[in-house]
């Protein structure tokens, strides 16, 4: 390459405009934003999350309206137009969770983490920046997707639909977005704890999908004491308009979910400081 003949290219002589500032949380956040937007997988996975949320909401709205007469009377009585059009979160949470994990494990798998910690050797600012950024991004996008799913879904439900002013509608929409953002930050923490993509994704899916089902095999007295505290069930109680009467309150469910996220972040922070990168 012709540029090689330019010689050793001393770094100082042509660096009159080189200013170097101290590492701050805001600068680490900016760095993480650049990293996040410069990977194609970010846009694709977030798009998958949005499509899951919106498309499923519309499909559930349309399908229930078209087949309303075939529903049994008890199904009709229990039908919640709010919950039905927001049900896409069950799929969206998987996309959000996988991307949250990948933001971290992708760096461990490629060795990028050494460059990251070379620039930010205190390490913890990286955890906080990734967690903050991903919470913000997922909450904003999923709030938009939930509104779109709800509004479009109600249109498609026709006479069986409801409006934003209905009791519990806004709480459900904001709650779904909040739940997905918390799942996002939880998976970021999980990525720092486990560090491998396969292990983190398996753990996340086990917690969100497998444990709630497995738990149904427990004696019912155990079920009542354990199942409401799983993140997926706590999330559902937090935002669903229709919930079982013996479920936790919405506030308690939110606290339970925050407890999961807080514990995961604390474990990630401790391990991040202790372990070799």
């Amino acid at each position: 390459m012709s540029t090689l003949t330019a010689g050793p290219a001393s770094t100082s002589e042509d660096s009159d405009f080189l200013t170097v500032e101290p590492v701050t949380p805001a600068r680490v956040l900016r760095s993480e934003w650049i990293k996040m937007r410069s990977l194609r997988s970010t846009a694709l996975t977030l798009l998958a999350g949005i499509v899951s949320m919106v498309a499923l909401g519309w499909i559930f709205g349309w399908a229930n309206n078209a087949n309303w007469s075939e529903l049994r009377p008890d199904e009709q009585a229990l039908f919640s137009p709010i919950d039905a059009t927001l049900a896409g979160y069950r799929l969206a949470q998987l996309a959000i969770g996988v991307l949250g994990v990948l933001l971290v494990t992708g760096e461990y798998a490629t060795g990028m983490i050494r460059a990251t910690f070379g620039a930010v050797p205190r390490r913890l600012p990286v955890l906080w920046a990734k967690a903050t950024l991903y919470t913000g991004v997922t909450f904003a996008l999923m709030l938009g997707a939930a509104v779109a799913a709800f509004v479009g879904g109600q249109q498609l439900l026709g006479t069986h639909g409801t409006t934003l002013s209905a009791d519990g509608a806004v709480r459900a929409i904001v709650g779904v977005a909040g739940y997905l953002a918390l799942i996002g930050v939880f998976s970021v923490a999980l990525g720092f704890i486990i560090r491998s993509t396969a292990g983190s994704v398996a753990t996340l899916f086990g917690l969100l999908l497998v444990l709630p089902t497995l738990g149904l095999l427990l004696p019912s007295s155990w079920q009542d004491n354990l199942l409401p505290y799983l993140p997926s069930n706590a999330g559902a109680t937090m935002f669903n308009a229709h919930t079982a009467t013996d479920a936790l309150s919405a506030t308690t469910s939110l606290l339970v979910l925050l407890g999961w996220v807080g514990a995961a972040l604390a474990a990630a922070a401790v391990l991040l400081r202790r372990r070799d990168a």
Binding site: M1, T3, L4, A6, G7, P8, A9, S10, T11, S12, D14, S15, F17, L18, T19, V20, E21, P22, V23, R27, V28, R30, S31, E32, I34, K35, S38, L39, R40, S41, G106, E107, T110, G111, M112, I113, R114, A115, F117, G118, A119, V120, P121, R122, R274, D276, A277
Partner: protein, 311 residues
């Protein structure tokens, strides 16, 4: 300036770095030499705070690396294993690192040009050749114009032009007053670039001296003498420090005497000499001897077997 004091790293029972104490001075290139597995990379990772020492301390510019407010301005590092996300472009990789220290985009463009990657800067780093990957690593290391450069095997996988480029770059940086610490398992490469050398074997410090001194030590004073009366001449060389061997019928290898002494003595005995040359042991040989000793040392200690099987 890098200062290591009693630096030790153990992985379970295996001692990767064993009580290393050394100082790397600014203004010169210091070579960090040792066979693969000698603990060079682990030592460099400890300097950068990526691995925590089991014992001892290491500081850069008087403080542990992680205590610096602008770490990239203190140390720029190129580690042996790649440290780049394969799906991200070289430009965005550098931009993300620059953002942590508020470094301008113009500087990113500058280092890209400096290492000659401008044609591929927008392409995925995963598709880079080994040489291009090394160049990107150097660009990252130079980003904040650091006082100290740490490079782990920088010429690995480079073509001759690239090797020369690295050598010139390092010499230029050292001449500008930077501290340059470069590891290699190749003595010959170090002999060309380093002014000072730190040699490790099995995690232990073997030597810490100017390169010239190491070269002088390595050039052991073996003199090769060719003579038709080799046997008669051999009998004449007697002394406590003198050893003589006769690898061939008409050839002697003598240690403990200079060429001049041997020539004079042959003349006095009226023995004709057809060849007289000081044989220089190669640096590579000296280095191998040094580290071979270290391996044997461990093999004879009670825990030696364990150390060997664990490695």
């Amino acid at each position: 300036m890098i200062e290591a004091k009693n630096l030790t790293k153990k992985y379970g029972d295996k001692v990767a770095v064993n009580d290393l104490t050394f100082t790397v001075q600014p203004g010169i290139i210091t070579g960090f030499l040792g066979p693969n597995g000698a603990g060079k990379s682990t030592t460099m990772r400890m300097i950068l705070g990526l691995d925590a020492p089991t014992g001892g301390t290491v500081t850069v510019g008087g403080k542990p690396y992680r205590r610096h407010a602008k770490p990239l301005q203190v140390v720029g590092a190129l580690l042996e294993a790649r440290a780049v996300h394969t799906s991200r472009s070289a430009y965005n990789h550098l931009l993300a690192l620059a953002a942590t220290h508020g470094i301008a985009k113009s500087r990113v463009a500058e280092v890209i040009e400096m290492v000659g990657l401008q044609d591929v800067a927008r392409k995925r780093a995963g598709g880079f050749s080994l040489g291009m990957g090394q160049r990107l690593g150097i660009a990252s290391a130079l980003l904040a114009d650091p006082e100290t450069l740490i490079l782990d095997e920088p010429v690995n996988g480079l073509d001759p032009e690239g090797v020369r480029w690295i050598r010139d770059l390092l010499k230029g940086l050292a001449a500008d007053g930077h501290t340059v610490f470069v590891s290699s398992h190749l003595m010959s490469e170090m002999a060309l670039t380093a002014e000072h050398v730190i040699v490790v074997g099995r995690g232990r410090l073997m030597a810490d001296m100017p390169m010239s001194e190491l070269i002088a030590q390595a050039s052991s004073s073996v003199v090769v003498v060719r003579s038709p009366q080799a046997a008669a001449l051999a009998d004449a060389f007697v002394g406590a420090d003198i050893t003589v061997s006769r690898p061939e019928h008409d050839t002697l290898e003598v240690t403990g005497l200079t060429s001049a002494q041997i020539g004079d003595q042959a003349r006095d005995l009226n023995i004709s000499v057809h060849g007289l040359a000081a044989k220089k042991a190669s640096l590579e040989e000296a280095f191998m001897d040094m580290t071979r000793d270290e391996v044997e040392y461990h093999a004879h200690t009670p825990t030696g077997h364990h150390i060997r099987s664990a490695s």
